[in-house]
């Protein structure tokens, strides 16, 4: 098992990119620190990775989910540029930035990621007790490929709704900080059971926690038995437990309950779930 993070950057590719950026008018070379930067001495070395954080809270007595998404912003932007320039750019397309490979165990992910509350005065306060729920073990970050790490946060460890959290990933080429993410409001099951259950169902899906989803689905069924959500979540639980026919019936029930014109977009996911269970026409 690897005990360290390895950000393998193909040096030749980086060099080629740097050379390209230098010849391109207005180009900006950004490569990980630690490498020779063949560009203006005033240009700052910026790690090529980007980071996002999303916060989901459900039942306040249960854990909250923190989703950290790591991606190769340099590669992604370059791919977009290439796509836009294809066939019309005055200059040949620059070589694609090298992928950044990340090989980490769950423990290593956790040791590399900090979750902090960003206070109004600019100081940070660490969120303690965070654990890894799900994380990729190896991924080559490039273009739209992401490394999504689901972190679990024990009840009561998050600050109040409206507080801002930031994630920091300590890469070998420097720390990468996410944009601030708001802690969403929490619905108290004692005062609004349906809202709390819907929120908790979403957290359960993020955590891929079928038992928690099942508990939420029961509450939703109880609180809003004729809703679209009731058979929808029931179906998700049934399918996860291998109850194929029951799940299909639940999904169809949900689809039938969808009122005409209520939605501006089709229930792609629901259709997909039904098709997956019943099989397509051909």
């Amino acid at each position: 098992m690897l005990k360290r993070i390895t950000l393998v950057v193909v040096l030749l590719a980086i060099a080629a990119v740097a050379v390209w950026r230098l010849r391109k008018p207005g180009g900006d070379a950004s490569i990980p620190s630690g490498l020779t930067q063949a560009t203006s001495p005033t240009a700052a070395a910026v790690p090529p990775l980007g980071l996002r954080l999303r916060v989901a809270v459900g039942d306040p007595s249960a854990s909250a989910m923190l989703t950290v998404t790591l991606f190769n912003r340099a590669s992604r932007q370059a791919a977009l540029n290439r796509a836009a320039d294809a066939g019309r750019a005055a200059q040949p397309a620059p070589p694609a930035p090298a992928p950044v490979r990340v090989d980490l165990t769950a423990a290593e992910w956790l040791s590399r990621i900090d979750i902090d509350e960003l206070r109004a005065d600019g100081t940070k306060a660490r969120i303690n007790g965070v654990t890894v729920r799900q994380a990729p073990s190896a991924v080559a970050l490039e273009n739209d490929v992401t490394a999504v790490v689901s972190l679990e946060c024990p009840p009561g460890s998050l600050p109040a709704a409206g507080a801002k959290l930031v994630a920091t990933f300590r890469s070998d080429s420097g720390p990468i900080e996410s944009d601030p993410a708001d802690v969403p409001p929490v619905a108290r099951p004692s005062t609004n059971a349906l809202t709390a259950a819907l929120a908790d169902a979403r957290v359960a899906r993020i955590a891929n926690d079928i038992d928690r989803l099942a508990r939420a689905a029961v509450i939703i069924e109880r609180e809003a038995p004729s809703s679209v959500e009731a058979p929808y979540y029931r179906g998700l639980v049934q399918e996860a437990r291998g109850e194929r026919d029951a799940a299909l019936a639940s999904y169809r029930s949900a689809l039938d309950r969808m009122s005409r014109g209520r939605y501006s977009e089709p229930p792609d996911e629901l259709v997909f779930l039904i098709r997956r269970l019943q099989g397509g026409r051909r």
């Binding site: 207005g26 005033t42 910026v46 836009a84 689809l255 977009e265």
Partner: protein
């Protein structure tokens, strides 16, 4: 009478002034050392006023035959000169006893001065015998024309100036640094046309008119130590008097010559001597007095002058590198130099002015409104820069013939002007800018649109207006579509100035429509790049709370332009994506993606398609049609039913087409199970025409009627693609 007048006018009034020791302040204001080669340019004027006040006696000439007469009246001779004097390039060294040069006497040579003169007035003379005669004087002339006409040339003005080169000049008590002398030459004014009308009161009907030329009209200027009526410098004077080599003169020689000359001056002029010394590179002074020769004190002379030093200094300020365009914290150099042929050195002063103060350092980064260009700190050979109202100024610490200064850009769109001056004698002389005028643009910008020409030529074409926003790519297939599809809300200047995207700077590619997206999810934009738009992913801090991406807009802006915001959102069951409305980024408040569902969506509907579909709505792409509530296919939501011309119609692979139909309404009016594979969606369509299972005539294939949903009612998505403005619903 006329002869007396002419002889009187021929008197050159001189002013010889004792040299009072002057403070070192004055020394500091005049050049030291080799500053020869300069010019003195300015104006001078004066008059000679003759007033008759009684019996006129001119002992020097003796009593006129017939005895003394009474005179009354006033005759005034005035002159105004445009002065151009040139410092000789062969100064005379003044040496101390040890042979060290302590100063230089630099002859001043007329270099094309002109003088305009006039005379007017009447003098009435009552003779000893009681006869009354009138003398009316009128006339005018311009030298050197008059001079040339009369005596065939000759300088009007001459003089000299003393430049001390020693802090311990032994002549400081009598000849301070910057002492000068100016002398008008009487002969040059000979030939000045005068009309004198003589009328005998006893015979008023028989005037006698004399058209004549002046014989030297009192040309006169002041100076520090006027040595003689000649144009000799003290050195020449001493050389002539003492037989010393004119190329150099001893300190004692100068002292002797000055002393002797002062005595002469006092004999000529009744006024007290006064010293004249250059101050702030200016010869400025006035004098008035009564020539002793007249004795009767009926004649007064006065003059004043103001000359400024104009060094014959050839130098230039070179343009900055044409390929340089400003980038934050990047530098460019500018070099100023005195023409080596001038053989001069001086202190250089560079001035940045008209410098931009665009907020921040890119259209979406930074907040400060400080000057966008400044001189780099800590430059060798320079003092500290000082800020002015619209720029900066910096000066070399020592003298040199050339100086190169580094200019630091603090903004990717920085612009300003730079001028250079050089000080060789206490006066700042502007240097000629390469390309004309006295300043260069930073960056190089001949068309004045504040976009660097080197960049502009490559990306825009020279002469492009900074405010234009005419980006057309990706092209709209149908040329009849509204012209306002072009543009992306950013002007040429804004695209040139550029933006930060995920903390890296780039510029907008002119000609291509740029769209900005803040992706809160971090999952990217999926297949949206198939639109051909130039997509820029930004961070949260790279747009403002209203989603305006060019929140630092200022010069030549096309107005606010917003970015799209992709956010994570728990949507209704089964729904993976949603846009607030269909319209441009300026009207679409949000793009919501339910990551939980999107991650489940696979197969015929991928997350990349969902994201691209919703982003398409964010650039004014509508669905291919709308659902009909009157469908005969009962039991299902029209959202999942394919009908002719509805959301499922048109190009089979268009990202804006729906692909999750459970059923569809056949052309025979019956409902049929929709095919499981309804994609993939991989492009934005360019026409309404149905393709694949939506294409072709009505037919039956394997018991199913086709086309499934036929041609699109709306479709032709690329015709609707709009980034700027506030278009909605594909309009």
């Amino acid at each position: 009478m006329v002869n007396r007048l002419i002889r009187f006018l021929a008197v050159v009034v001189v002013a010889a002034l004792a040299a009072a020791p002057l403070a070192s302040r004055i020394s500091a204001q005049a050049p030291r050392g080799d500053a020869s080669g300069g010019r003195w340019v300015g104006r001078a004027s004066g008059e000679l006023r003759r007033v008759g006040v009684g019996p006129y006696v001119l002992p020097a000439l003796g009593t006129e035959p017939g005895g003394p007469s009474d005179q009354s009246g006033t005759v005034v001779t005035t002159w105004t000169a445009e002065i151009r004097l040139k410092e000789s390039t062969t100064p005379v060294d003044v040496k101390d006893a040890a042979g060290a040069v302590v100063g230089r006497l630099v002859p001043l040579v007329d270099d094309g001065s002109t003088v305009t003169l006039g005379i007017s007035g009447r003098m009435t003379e009552r003779s000893h015998y009681g006869d009354i005669e009138y003398w009316d004087y009128t006339g005018s002339g311009i030298a050197p024309e008059a001079r040339v006409a009369s005596i065939g040339g000759g300088a009007f003005l001459s003089g000299w100036v003393y430049y001390s080169v020693s802090d311990h000049d032994p002549l400081a008590d009598i000849l301070p640094n910057g002492a000068y002398s100016l002398l008008g030459t009487p002969q040059v004014l000979n030939g000045f046309a005068i009309k004198v009308t003589h009328v005998d009161a006893g015979h008023p009907d028989q005037p006698h008119v004399n058209n004549m030329r002046s014989g030297g009209t009192g040309s006169w200027m002041g100076g520090y130590a006027l040595w003689s009526w000649s144009r000799m410098t003290p050195a020449e004077r001493v050389a002539k008097r003492f037989g010393i080599d004119g190329n150099s003169i001893s300190v004692d020689g100068v002292r002797q010559a000055l002393t002797a000359t002062k005595a002469t001056m006092r004999d000529v002029m009744s006024a007290d001597p006064k010293s004249y010394v250059i101050a702030n590179s200016v010869m400025d002074g006035r004098m008035a007095g009564v020539p002793k020769e007249s004795l009767s004190e009926k004649t007064t002379v006065s003059s004043e002058w103001h000359l400024e030093r104009e060094i014959h200094l050839s130098g230039s300020l070179k343009r900055v590198d044409r390929d340089w365009r400003p980038k934050k914290d990047d530098k460019v150099t500018a070099t100023a130099a005195i023409d080596p042929a001038s053989n001069l050195t001086g202190t250089f002063r560079f001035t940045l002015f008209d410098v931009s103060r665009e907020r921040g350092y890119a259209i979406n980064a930074g907040w400060d409104t400080s000057l966008d260009l400044e001189f780099a700190a800590g430059q060798a050979g320079f003092g500290a820069a000082t800020e002015t109202a619209d720029g900066w100024q910096i000066q070399t610490a020592g003298t040199s013939a050339t100086a190169t200064v580094q200019i630091l850009a603090k903004d990717y769109g920085a612009y300003g002007k730079l001028k250079a001056e050089v000080n060789v004698d206490g006066h700042w002389y502007p240097l000629r800018a390469e390309g004309g005028g006295t300043s260069i643009t930073v960056p190089l910008d001949d068309d004045g649109n504040h976009i660097a020409d080197g960049w502009e030529e490559v990306w825009l074409g020279l002469g492009s207006p900074a405010t234009d926003d005419t980006d057309e790519l990706p092209a709209t297939p149908d040329a009849s579509e509204p012209a306002n599809r072009a543009g992306d809300g950013l002007s040429n200047y804004e695209e040139y100035r550029g933006f930060m995207q995920e903390e890296s700077w780039d510029f907008g590619y002119p000609g291509m429509r740029d769209v900005f997206i803040y992706d809160e999810l971090g999952h990217g934009t999926g297949l949206y790049s198939k639109s051909g738009l130039r997509i820029h992913l930004i961070r949260f801090k790279e747009y403002d709370k209203d989603r305006v991406v060019n929140f630092n807009r200022g010069y030549a802006t096309a107005g606010p332009q917003k970015a799209l915001h992709i956010m994570d959102w728990g949507l209704d069951p089964g729904v993976a994506g949603q846009a607030s409305v269909v319209g441009t980024p300026n009207v679409v408040d949000w793009i919501r993606i339910d990551t939980v569902k999107a991650s489940y969506v696979q197969g015929s509907v991928s997350a990349a398609e969902v994201i691209a579909h919703e982003l398409g709505h964010g650039t004014n792409l509508p669905h291919h049609g709308e659902a009909s509530k009157g469908t005969v296919c009962a039991g299902g939501d029209p959202m999942i039913t394919g009908i002719k011309g509805g959301q499922y119609s048109g190009d089979w692979h268009c990202i804006m087409r729906y692909t999750s139909a459970i059923q569809y309404e056949g052309w025979d009016g019956n409902c049929y199970l929709a095919p499981a594979q309804q994609g993939p969606r991989e492009s934005f369509c360019r026409s309404k025409a149905g393709t694949e299972l939506n294409a072709g005539p009505q037919r039956m294939e394997e018991m199913y009627p086709y086309p499934m949903a036929g041609d699109a009612t709306v479709g032709a998505c690329m015709n609707h693609l709009t980034v700027r403005g506030t278009a909605r619903n594909g309009g």
